[in-house]
């Protein structure tokens, strides 16, 4: 029993240990320099990531509340990897920050929450994990303590997440009322498609929609992304979304199978709405963080295409795309983070002639944007292709054609930034940036990931094999 407990929950336990170490450090009152603290945490995060690959086992704990499998371990590893990258990227921003230990405690608490959410086998457990992953994030959004916008972002975030949690809870209670159970394993047998069940599904879906900022539940996204510190923004847009998407796939595919006709139509409509709205709003943004916020809304729309595929290929393509999305979006945010931390500039116009002063960083940002736009040979092309292919398997070609043509719009706004960097002139370009080891390492990981994950088919094959 103890063995099972240790092995199945090893990732959760490790993160908890790290949080407690930080807590002891804080209580003990001995002053560490920020840099050594960050390096210490980074090393622990690497250990956490590496250990995730060993001793993967399938099983359940606590009377079927908690489950673990190779697939879930892999998904957790992806989230750990993303967290590590973000931690490396925050170096310049956190170096002179007063509350480094608190930052990491909050960040890892959300990670812990996501782990529990992923492993949940019961709606109650799921809700618990979700809340644990959301509330610290609102505190993190406020981490630029002297900026008014940051508090505003935190406030907006806490209100909108509270609201979406309310919707989720309402949906969960209705579902419990009609099925009499909260366990993921038992719900499908009790779903018959009564109006109340459909309604509870819609509420649950709306709750998910808020978290992944699908249209029409996206309104909080841009303001929060703009106000929050870049590290938190990237965490929100990649890790938190990725976790919810993983759970969403598993809930839609495993729990709501009897309602698959209903939810296909819903996913399909929301996907189109999300792509189009995200794209149109991204066109006119001047702030690069807002821009990335809307572009990530559009990306979620593309991911929903894969979910709509209702097949193993669909699930595989979603997980695969999140993997690529972690690399691509974090590479973009990494550069934005550096520029923002060192110069305070966050407008797209500031990036004009960026190539003249920082050629390498420009290429990194360019490769990241190409990957987000889905241009080969970057991994983004493969990710998008498989998402579309999974969606096309349902035979709804009008949907696929509209979504594919929307790629043109998204292509335009990504190219706009490339154009600013490579082609425009600027009297006061961003000066040459001195980068330290951590951000460099993180960008290197991202770029290597973008180049390798697509051309080498191993990643996709591995995900596919986990699903069987």
């Amino acid at each position: 029993m103890l063995n099972d407990f240790l092995i199945l929950m090893k990732q959760e336990l490790l993160v908890t240990v790290i949080i407690f170490l930080l807590l002891f450090k804080k209580v003990s009152g001995r002053e560490w320099s920020n840099v050594s603290l960050m390096n210490f945490v980074n090393v622990l995060l690497v250990i956490n990531l590496v250990s995730g690959f060993f001793m993967q086992q399938t099983g359940t704990l606590f009377g079927d509340m908690f489950r673990s499998s190779e697939l879930l371990s892999f998904e957790k590893n992806l989230l750990s990897l993303g967290t590590l990258i973000i931690s490396l990227q925050s170096y310049n921003w956190l170096k002179d920050h007063k509350h480094v230990a608190e930052f990491y405690m909050l960040l890892l608490s959300t990670l812990l929450g996501m782990f529990f959410m992923l492993s949940s086998n019961n709606l109650l457990m799921f809700y618990l994990g979700l809340e644990l992953s959301t509330i610290p994030l609102a505190a993190l959004a406020n981490f630029d303590l002297d900026k008014k916008k940051s508090s505003e972002a935190a406030f907006k975030m806490i209100i909108s997440s509270a609201f979406s949690s309310g919707l989720l809870l309402f949906g969960i209670s209705l579902l419990y009322g009609t099925t009499g159970t909260l366990s993921f394993g038992e719900i499908p047998a009790h779903i018959s498609g009564t109006p109340l069940q459909v309604f509870s599904f819609i509420l649950l879906f709306a709750g998910f929609g808020f978290k992944i900022s699908a249209v029409p539940f996206h309104l909080w996204t841009a303001d929060v992304y703009e106000g929050a510190p870049v590290a938190v923004t990237s965490y929100l847009s990649v890790i938190s979304k990725g976790a919810i998407l993983f759970v969403m796939v598993s809930v839609l595919y495993n729990v709501f199978t009897p309602l698959s006709g209903t939810w296909y139509n819903m996913v399909f409509l929301i996907s189109l709405l999300t792509i189009i709205t995200g794209n149109l709003f991204a066109l006119r943004q001047e702030n690069i963080k807002r821009f990335l916020a809307f572009s990530s809304i559009a990306q979620v729309g593309f991911i929903l295409i894969g979910i709509s595929g209702q097949s193993v290929d669909g699930t595989a393509s979603v997980i695969y795309f999140v993997l690529i999305y972690i690399f691509s979006n974090l590479a973009a945010f990494g550069v934005v983070n550096l520029v923002s931390a060192l110069t305070g500039k966050e407008n797209i116009d500031d990036y004009r002639a960026f190539y003249k002063t920082n050629p390498l960083l420009s290429w990194v940002l360019a490769i990241a944007l190409f990957s987000l736009a889905g241009v080969p040979p970057t991994a983004g092309f493969f990710g998008k292709f498989f998402l579309f292919l999974a969606g096309a398997a349902k035979g709804n070609y009008l949907f696929i054609a509209i979504a594919a043509l929307n790629m043109i719009i998204s292509f335009y706004y990504y190219l706009r930034i490339i154009k600013a960097m490579f082609m425009d002139a600027n009297d006061r370009p961003i000066p040459k940036l001195e980068t330290s080891f951590s951000p460099k390492a993180s960008l290197f990981i991202c770029v290597a990931g973008i180049v390798v994950t697509g051309l080498a088919s191993g990643g996709y094959a591995y995900i596919h094999s986990l699903l069987k």
Partner: protein
């Protein structure tokens, strides 16, 4: 021979350029890479002919097949037939000439040559692909280098043109994707879905599927080859691009579309091609005439050549749309011929622009007196464009006309006659431009100090002229080369007509 070498050499060249320092090193590496690739393509031709001579009648030679994404049955499947070899040779000619004319590219030279080689990598990969996924992959690989080449090194309203080109080509790709996905999911190849061209051509795709997805594929590829009304990126894109990129765009990039229309749309979906043939013919006829008349109004040399490219590429689509053996032969010939001719034209316009810093016809004149070599090349390119016998243009266009005339239907006959008439218009604009720029009085006294072509420019022009002449004088060589390929396509077409 191992076809993957065609990808490895450009890849090594591109990576080799990265650590190089200074223009001299960069261009030496680029030149060496392009030359090796050129020789490799020559060897490929030789090996191919030898295989055929020894009685190998397989549809595709030198095939290699590796599973790439096994779960989706996506393969890295490559192989060549005569048509692909013709296109590969064209690419080798144009890339080598392109590197030569960019010999003095000072601005950001490392990036320039890197992108140029990378672009050629996309083209080579595209022409050897026998799997629709790989084909689509390489089709899109080429988009970004084009955007950057035009946007950074271009002239005039370069950012606008670069953006327009990238977006329109992306739109074309999106349509192609829908077509490919439709074919993939609605075809049963031994109980599985497949992207493999050889397997797909062996099973017959259901006719209703063809009817639905042929337009997506054909229009998608058509955007690349200036199918009316999706031709608008051509004039802007070609005119704003730097010389080598213009050569590449008009010479090879537009052929990607023609090749796709032929290899993917027509070869895999012949029934739909037959059904939609009147529409294709009408659109290409419009492109031919519209392009020719629009050229008449241009005053910028690059715009003249760009609009005439719309007209000339119309012949490619006309040949494909007519669906006879001769006309499809003609379409392939026209692709190769136009590729060489237009690259030559853009090269020589680049040489003139480098010296005179203008491309306005009105501000140039009497160049024959100061630059005899460049002027002669200009005249040759012009004559090839208007279809003078002995040069490649004549052979290609004549074949398309003859093939078109084989359709006895009066609709097709009228279309053929109208397209033929465009030759007169071509003659007008070519002769007018040549007369003004080459002959006549010198308009600007500063032009007297111009130097004639340097060795690298002579080499580039010579290379392309040799190509044009070989096709012009001994067209049967090229026709024999592509014959098995077009015959295979024709068998598929005849299978559905009767």
């Amino acid at each position: 021979m191992n076809l993957s070498l065609l990808l490895i050499v450009p890849l090594i060249t591109a990576l080799g350029i990265l650590p190089a320092k200074g223009l001299k090193q960069v261009r030496a590496i680029a030149m060496a890479g392009a030359a090796v690739q050129f020789l490799l393509c020559g060897f490929l031709l030789f090996a191919y002919l030898q295989e055929r001579a020894s009685g190998n009648t397989a549809a595709f030679l030198f095939e290699d097949d590796y599973s790439w994404y096994a779960a989706l049955n996506i393969h890295y499947h490559i192989g060549v037939d005569g048509i692909s070899i013709a296109m590969i040779l064209l690419t080798a000619f144009v890339v080598l000439a392109g590197v030569l004319v960019s010999w003095k590219m000072e601005k950001m030279n490392k990036e320039f040559f890197f992108l140029l080689i990378f672009l050629s990598l996309g083209a080579y990969g595209y022409f050897i692909s026998l799997d629709l996924f790989t084909l689509f992959f390489f089709l899109e690989v080429a988009v970004i280098p084009k955007f950057l080449l035009i946007g950074i090194w271009g002239s005039g309203k370069k950012e606008y043109s670069a953006m327009k080109l990238a977006l329109m080509l992306m739109g074309g790709s999106a349509l192609v994707f829908v077509g490919l996905a439709g074919v993939y999911f609605n075809t049963d190849v031994n109980g599985a879905h497949s992207f493999d061209i050889t397997q797909l051509s062996a099973v017959n795709i259901p006719v209703d599927v063809q009817e639905l997805f042929f337009p997506f594929a054909f229009i998608g590829f058509g955007v690349f080859t200036a199918l009316f009304p999706f031709h608008t990126w051509v004039p802007d894109g070609h005119s704003s691009a730097p010389t080598a990129a213009s050569m590449f765009l008009a010479g090879i990039s537009m052929k990607l579309g023609g090749y796709g229309c032929l290899r993917v749309a027509t070869f895999l979906m012949p029934a739909a091609a037959h059904e939609y043939s009147p529409i294709i013919v009408a659109l290409s006829c419009i492109a031919i005439l519209y392009g020719a008349f629009a050229t008449m109004m241009q005053t910028d040399l690059k715009y003249i050549n760009a609009y005439s490219s719309v007209s000339h590429c119309g012949f490619v689509l006309l040949g494909i749309g007519m669906l006879t053996k001769t006309s499809i032969d003609g379409a392939v010939l026209q692709m190769v011929s136009h590729g060489l001719m237009t690259a030559l034209f853009f090269a020589v316009i680049g040489m003139i622009y480098e010296r005179a810093h203008t491309r306005e016809v009105a501000r140039l004149g009497g160049l024959l007196k100061v630059m005899p070599f460049i002027s002669t090349v200009f005249v040759i390119a012009g004559l090839c464009s208007l279809g003078l016998p002995g040069l490649s243009g004549f052979v290609a266009e004549m074949t398309v006309f003859m093939g078109s005339w084989e359709n006895a239907d009066s609709y097709y006959r009228i279309a053929t006659i109208l397209s033929c008439a465009s030759i007169v218009v071509t003659a007008v604009y070519i002769l007018r431009a040549t007369g003004k720029v080459i002959n006549g009085p010198i308009v600007d006294k500063t032009h007297l100090s111009f130097t004639d072509a340097s060795w690298n420019e002579r080499l580039a022009a010579g290379l392309l002229i040799v190509g044009v002449l070989i096709i012009g004088i001994t067209p049967f060589l090229l026709k024999d080369l592509i014959n098995p390929g077009t015959a295979a396509i024709m068998t598929k077409i005849l299978g559905v007509i009767k």
